[in-house]
């Protein structure tokens, strides 16, 4: 590591070469305000809020973009910089509606925060607002161009992190908007509904579709039997909305909160993550041992990823696992298996999923396979952010709740189910069970380090008693192309496939940093949430999906065996090639 020595406000700082001045300031316990910059993205230096001074030089630098240098001496705060920053904020506010009280980001908006910190009390500049309608065309997110401060984060996220290219800066100067091509609504564009743009937008210009009202109506309807499930990643992130550190496991409190919100049953998506492993693991073993079905098998539990594949890589459809996502499996068995067991009319069941994900709002209406029970398998998806608001608005004192347990018969989970929420987790969970399926024995050490980590693409080999399984993991949608190009090339050359099994999650780090998770997600936060899930796994009595007693029970009582006819009907799906643009 190359170290650079410099000064921040006179205080000596040592820092890795190549860092920016923001990072150096952090080392000196100084926060420089930023608005366009996000640590996930290369600096774009658009807003000017992060200006700092170089000592003995008239030059102003943008701390987000300027690299550290040996002997550099930086002033981060003084009267003049204060005035410049306040002016920047006032200028942005002159083009920004001030209806904060009715904004989706009221209380979490980065611009609002700086306006408060800098004590903006008047509007010294001529007000020029953008008067354009909201784009509400997707099931998942809303675009409000009138709130956009043109920081560029969403465009960088959509193009560089996600490789989707749904959003672009359209127009020039004052007339620039962030929008899909050809004035199309977002829903007609290649958008995969991952919601990463909404998770990165500093203001209320892109936000999740709020459907809390539907939940409140459902629980107050005496005719409805409301049943819930929570995704793995929710339990290690929701706490942040109640000032707990990222990664704190709040599963028991979440169950308890749901009961207080008036739902009839509290189940867990983790149960169906185990079920997914049974189906997908069996599918993998079948493909490997019978030679039937395309290799590599690719995971399909992320709806943003399946949408992406159907649009950008339709030639990979045969490689996709036909297993539905855990959420959709849970929905299908809620209105069949559970309804039968509990003797409840499935027509009266209202099934709600609490998810880290905006794409899940799209998934429940993907196609007819999402009505496998004969009804809408999942009626409503609320993101973690909506769920946090719902708990607060319902007057539940979340932090003092007692831990409770999930309900039977589809609420229990193995450690394997919980790590579905992070990159590498689905792979690891599948390998634990595939090992058993292929050898009849259980792994002695269930922790498979080869697939853990944060690199965008990871590859490894796993030994299954003499059989080498080549596996690969990709997260952050744009990263998938390296792997898929390799697969395509091998296929074109008639070579052996380079991998047997590939796991893909659209969001960086996996669902732990899904588009519907609490704001301010950085790699640090991702690492903490992932650590939370691994801890949840370690603390689980049962680590492998096939050992989950409720999983054994559902196969014994209802499904028969993995890949049975009933399983196929309820738990598997199909994919279709879709055009990038609907029009």
């Amino acid at each position: 590591m190359n170290t650079v020595h410099m000064k921040i406000n006179g205080k000596p700082v040592e820092i890795e070469a190549g860092s920016n001045i923001l990072a150096a300031a952090k080392k000196a316990n100084v926060n420089i305000p930023t608005l366009c910059y996000h640590p996930d993205l290369p600096a774009w230096a658009a807003c000017g809020l992060c200006v700092v001074k170089q000592e003995n030089s008239p030059k102003l630098l943008r701390a987000c973009a300027a690299p550290v240098q040996e002997n550099l001496s930086i002033i981060t705060h003084d009267a003049e910089l204060y005035q410049i920053r306040k002016t920047v904020i006032e200028m942005i506010l002159s083009t920004h509606p001030n209806d904060c009280l009715m904004c989706a980001r009221n209380g979490t908006c980065e611009l609002q925060r700086f306006a408060a910190e800098f004590g903006v009390r008047e509007q010294p500049y001529e007000v020029r607002l953008v008067d354009l309608p909201k784009d509400t065309s997707t099931t998942s997110i809303v675009l409000d161009p009138s709130k956009c401060i043109k920081c560029g984060r969403c465009v960088q996220v959509c193009q560089d992190m996600q490789g989707v290219f749904a959003l672009e800066f359209i127009g020039r100067g004052d007339h620039t908007v962030v929008s899909p091509a050809a004035d199309l609504p977002l829903n007609d564009s290649p958008c995969i509904k991952c919601g990463q743009c909404s998770a990165h937008c500093p203001v209320g210009a892109i936000y999740e579709k709020d459907e809390i009202g539907d939940f409140v109506r459902a629980v107050s309807n005496p005719e409805l039997h409301v049943v819930t499930q929570i995704a793995p990643a929710v339990r290690v992130a929701l706490g942040e909305s109640f000032n707990l550190p990222a990664g704190t496991i709040t599963t028991g409190k979440i169950y308890s909160a749901l009961r207080r919100l008036g739902v009839a049953k509290v189940f867990d998506t983790n149960f169906s993550a185990d079920l997914t492993i049974m189906e997908e693991g069996s599918e993998l073993v079948k493909r490997l041992t019978t030679g039937k079905g395309a290799i590599p098998q690719i995971t399909s539990c992320c709806p943003a990823w399946t949408d992406y594949m159907e649009k950008y890589y339709p030639d990979m459809i045969p490689n996709f696992s036909t297993a539905k996502s855990p959420m959709m499996m849970q929905g299908a068995i809620t209105k069949t298996y559970y309804a039968e067991k509990a003797n409840v009319d499935p027509a009266t069941i209202y099934s709600v999923a609490i998810m880290p994900c905006t794409a899940k709002k799209y998934e429940i209406g993907r196609d007819d396979n999402m009505h496998a029970s004969g009804f809408k398998d999942v009626d409503l998806v609320l993101t973690t952010r909506e769920f946090a608001r719902l708990i607060k608005a319902s007057g539940i004192d979340f932090l003092t709740l007692e831990d409770e347990k999930a309900d039977s018969p589809i609420g229990e989970y193995a450690g394997a189910g919980t790590i579905f929420g992070n990159t590498g987790g689905v792979m690891e969970a599948a390998l634990r069970t595939a090992y058993n399926l292929m050898t009849g024995e259980d792994l002695k050490n269930v922790e498979i380090d080869a697939v853990r980590g944060m690199e965008g693409v990871r590859t490894g080999e796993v030994d299954i008693k003499g059989t080498t399984l080549k596996v690969a993991v990709a997260h952050g949608m744009a990263n998938v192309s390296t792997l898929l190009e390799e697969v395509r090339e091998a296929k074109a050359n008639g070579d052996e496939p380079p991998y047997h099994f590939i796991e893909v999650m659209a969001c960086r780090g996996g669902c732990v940093s899904g588009g519907g998770q609490p704001y301010a997600t950085t790699d640090e936060v991702r690492a903490q949430r992932i650590a939370g899930l691994y801890t949840d796994d370690e603390q689980s009595e049962v680590r492998c999906s096939h050992q989950n007693p409720e999983i054994k029970q559902i196969y014994a009582d209802y499904l028969g065996a993995p890949l049975s006819e009933k399983s196929h009907h309820l738990l598997h799906t199909t994919y279709t090639e879709r055009p990038l643009y609907k029009h």
Binding site: E168, G171, R172
Partner: protein, 158 residues
């Protein structure tokens, strides 16, 4: 990218132009310019075709199309009326001509009449300030135009 194209709508010259520029820096602007030369505007289909041929996202193409005032994404009328709004023409009442033409044709700036015959545009200096105010219809230039001449100019092309 998996965009599919059935049949290439471009002329052989345009296709070889695109092939020539394919890997050069700044190629997108040049190519879109050439497309507009051929069709008079860059239609959605043409943009799709360029996206397909260059293997670049459609959003990137619209980013460029919308950035430069020069590019048109809607089909102009059979007769495109361009009123100069450069400084000289503007001072001599170019904007009045726009207003009057608008009300005569029943359209606003950058719009096309319902029958597709006329479109109306404001343009930067066309380089004959001595004749201000100037307007052009297709390749024909009209100088020192007064409001009363406008109905005559329109009927000439109707």
């Amino acid at each position: 990218m998996s965009a599919k194209k059935k049949e290439n709508m471009f002329s052989r010259e345009l296709i070889s132009f695109i092939e020539k520029w394919r890997n050069k820096p700044g190629n997108l602007i040049m190519i879109l310019h050439q497309v507009q030369e051929e069709f008079g505007y860059v239609s959605r289909e043409a943009a799709d075709q360029v996206a397909y041929m260059l293997d670049i996202p459609l959003a990137k193409i619209y980013g460029v199309l919308s950035f430069y005032h020069f590019f048109k994404t809607t089909k102009p009328g059979d007769h495109n009326i361009q009123v100069c709004l450069g400084t000289a023409c503007y001072l001599k009442g170019g904007d009045m001509l726009v207003e009057e033409l608008g009300s005569l044709l029943g359209i606003g700036l950058n719009e096309v009449t319902e029958d597709g015959r006329f479109s109306l545009e404001g343009v930067r200096c066309v380089g004959c300030c001595g004749l201000a105010p100037v307007l052009t219809v297709g390749k024909e230039v009209f100088g020192k135009v007064t409001k009363d001449q406008l109905p005559g100019i329109i009927s000439k092309f109707s």
